[in-house]
Symmetry: C2
Subunit: 199 residues, 2 copies
């Protein structure tokens, strides 16, 4: 197979091993050595694809985000060929909540990554690039709702994006800790979206 | 001094040492030994007051919560002898945000505690008792707003409490990571409360 494809496939294989490890044993368990073992590769092979643990982590988190975006797109388009901004936002937040085994793993990896970002400026910078993208996307959907008349004109898209993001983030935590069931969290999400798109 | 008072003072002294340690070096740095050293006590003395690390942790987090509640009460009453539900909620969330050195430490301790609760069922249970208290308090303030006519009757107090909590939680994270300034977070809070209490 072409060299570039092989390179990308190997990086994914390593990222998947890292994500499995992090979900089962936490980010502390992640090292070039343990990831190599989990991926069935030599340490030298892993070092060939990633210069450092942080580089590997960053790639793994971006990879996880890309997979999630793909799932959301599939889910939204399965509902309608021309989804409304409300349907898109509901799918985004619902897919973000740790309801399935996969989204639960993603949430745990995200938390582990966040903890590391608190003490590693390089990771914080990358982390700092991802969240605004989500918030900008949320705000854009709300603005789209305003243009089509489903969101009241006096709603502030940026503040509303932050509030919706907070709902997703906090409900994820509460589901993980067993404070709330997925059904309860989804009910709060629907309550919120029904009001936001109630113009 | 009376034995009971002495006992409580010692426990606080140990809790304060634990909180300082956690804020500076993370929860991994916390052990009976390191806390004893930080508190200037012998390990035997610490063990006299706390049977285990988790018992010590639980006490420290409750102690921190009690201090915060005191600060909020002082802050709210400084504004008015009969504060409105909106003023009370604003003070709660504003005090929760990691804006001062103290609330920043509290947030870091809370996150470290949360991470541990994910893998320690005993801590998760205690954690599970604290958050609902906050949510119930938030919902009660919103209901009070409905009784006095400042919150629309069709708002659901429980869902609204969750949404407000999400705002507090996520803004705290974003301030810690440097995504948002305290001013931006407070602007989102005020935007949200102005709408909620806009009946």
């Amino acid at each position: 197979m072409p060299r570039q494809v092989d390179h990308e496939l190997r990086r994914r294989q390593i990222a998947e091993a890292l994500l499995r490890l992090t979900a089962c044993r936490g980010l502390e368990a992640v090292s070039l050595r343990t990831v190599a073992a989990e991926a069935g590769l030599s340490m030298g092979a892993v070092q060939h694809y990633f210069g450092s643990k942080d580089e590997m982590l960053l790639y793994a988190v971006s990879y996880q985000d890309a997979l999630r975006t793909e799932r959301i797109t599939t889910r939204v388009l399965a509902g309608s060929a021309e989804p409304t901004p409300k349907a898109i936002l509901r799918a985004c937040v619902a897919e973000f909540l740790p309801i399935t085994e996969q989204s639960r793993t993603e949430t745990l990896v995200g938390i582990a990554f966040f903890i590391r970002a608190l003490s590693e400026p390089a990771l914080a910078t990358s982390y700092a690039e991802n969240l605004p993208k989500t918030l900008t996307f949320f705000a854009e959907q709300i603005r789209q709702g305003q243009r089509s008349g489903t969101v009241a004109a006096d709603r502030d898209p940026e503040h509303e994006a932050e509030i919706l993001w907070g709902l997703a983030d906090a409900q994820g935590t509460e589901i993980l800790l067993g404070h709330r069931t997925p059904e309860q969290s989804l009910a709060t999400l629907d309550y919120h979206l029904d009001r936001l798109f109630g113009a």
